[in-house]
Subunit: 153 residues, 4 copies
Amino acid sequence: MQIGDPVSPEIATRTQASFARQGLMAYLGAEMTEVRAGQVTIRLPFRPELTQQHGFFHAGGTSAIADSAGGYAGFTLFPEGSSVLTVEFKMNLISPAQGEYLEAIGRVIKSGRTLTICQLDVWGVAGEARKHVATGMQTLICMKDRPDMPAAG
Amino acid sequence: MQIGDPVSPEIATRTQASFARQGLMAYLGAEMTEVRAGQVTIRLPFRPELTQQHGFFHAGGTSAIADSAGGYAGFTLFPEGSSVLTVEFKMNLISPAQGEYLEAIGRVIKSGRTLTICQLDVWGVAGEARKHVATGMQTLICMKDRPDMPAAG
Amino acid sequence: MQIGDPVSPEIATRTQASFARQGLMAYLGAEMTEVRAGQVTIRLPFRPELTQQHGFFHAGGTSAIADSAGGYAGFTLFPEGSSVLTVEFKMNLISPAQGEYLEAIGRVIKSGRTLTICQLDVWGVAGEARKHVATGMQTLICMKDRPDMPAAG
Amino acid sequence: MQIGDPVSPEIATRTQASFARQGLMAYLGAEMTEVRAGQVTIRLPFRPELTQQHGFFHAGGTSAIADSAGGYAGFTLFPEGSSVLTVEFKMNLISPAQGEYLEAIGRVIKSGRTLTICQLDVWGVAGEARKHVATGMQTLICMKDRPDMPAAG
């Protein structure tokens, strides 16, 4: 298997199902538009509710979808019955984040038994134009034998 | 002046006014609870709309308030008529982010003419309990002669 | 036990012994000057062999001692028979690194079963003057049942 | 001009000349093996003087050449008479750094007037085998009207 290959329907389903349990992604209006092996894309349409003080997308929104894209990119490669946590991530905000929507791509660079490293990139898309607005790096940890379900209660 | 000193009413007002223009902060329900010289606190009460897949606060929300806290901590030290942009930031998510609310404190470590470095810390607070859930670092750039106003139009 | 407490002679000895096996530290001329629980100090005297193009300490040397200081800070808290690896680290170089020597302090912020997070700080010291030249953050992994010995051969 | 294009002899010469003034690079035994527009390669042959406690390359050496590779990648794009400083960098150490030599490639992702962002990658090379051992990101600042010369004295 190569990073970017198609995934099985089972993996696509459990990845989308976990994403659907992220209250923040729904609240922001984010959508998971592609699930590949070790590579996930999330799209976030512009809304005034997502802005910083100059009217661009707030770095918090940019980072939120980048973090989820990377986390689920790693998750597609994890064994069934495990879940994913972000250990740390770093983002460089290279241009003002604007456009009709942002598109975040998380891509696994190194998949280990315990730790997985992802590259994170975010583009601002307006019509045909596509501008690189942020790039980052993320470390994930695979929680084995801890199914990806909401905490009980 | 020392980091953590009180600020003038003018600085408090323009910092709060800029924060109030961040659509994302209002939408998430975040509140700026303290403005000091080079140190700003932002509080984010728990809501199901802010969660990740296990029911904790999503790292995107944690990062959003940490980024704003650090950005405005730097902003309190900038000359009038300038604005602030985040160059990059890095967060380590050290414990599951839970509690009645999160509290992010951004604190200037080094204030330069062009670049400012902040430490970012986030706590999860529940009653008397206060748990350190994230720590990070941030680089800001001071945009001189660019007043902190929304883009025209 | 608190971070910064004295360590037992056994822990001091195995920490210094591991440090002594780091060929790079000896080659650069670095010395481990203090070992406390979760907190280690390393000193690096100035030499022209350590400079960057303007005659200051090269960020590579600054980072090398910061990384070792943090790694051994974590190591003091690990169970016997385990070893330490750096997962990632991030450094902000806040002032030109100069002085008679650099002093790096690594300090554990969060000690987990698998992962440990450290804060890294480096000062440039010249006589009585002590200037903060770099600050950073580091993630370590504890390799259990892998004694801290050189690879065989 | 594209990243990776050949550079003029003038740019190649002033980049190699600045590298030659880095005392640490010479002391470690590092060599700048390729200078392209926005992309520089540095090679570091293995020596016991470069190791950490398990006999692999120390992360400090890995980081030193990665930092220099990125710094000079940015420098190739700077106007004459300016110099480069690293603002911050972050490295993920994804595999034990071993081999006959390490090869670090710094590559500009975004070149701005003041700040430049680079991707950093390091490989361990042994015969035909080439293993990705570290990946990172770096922020540089262009110091205008400050020629790249050693401090006076």
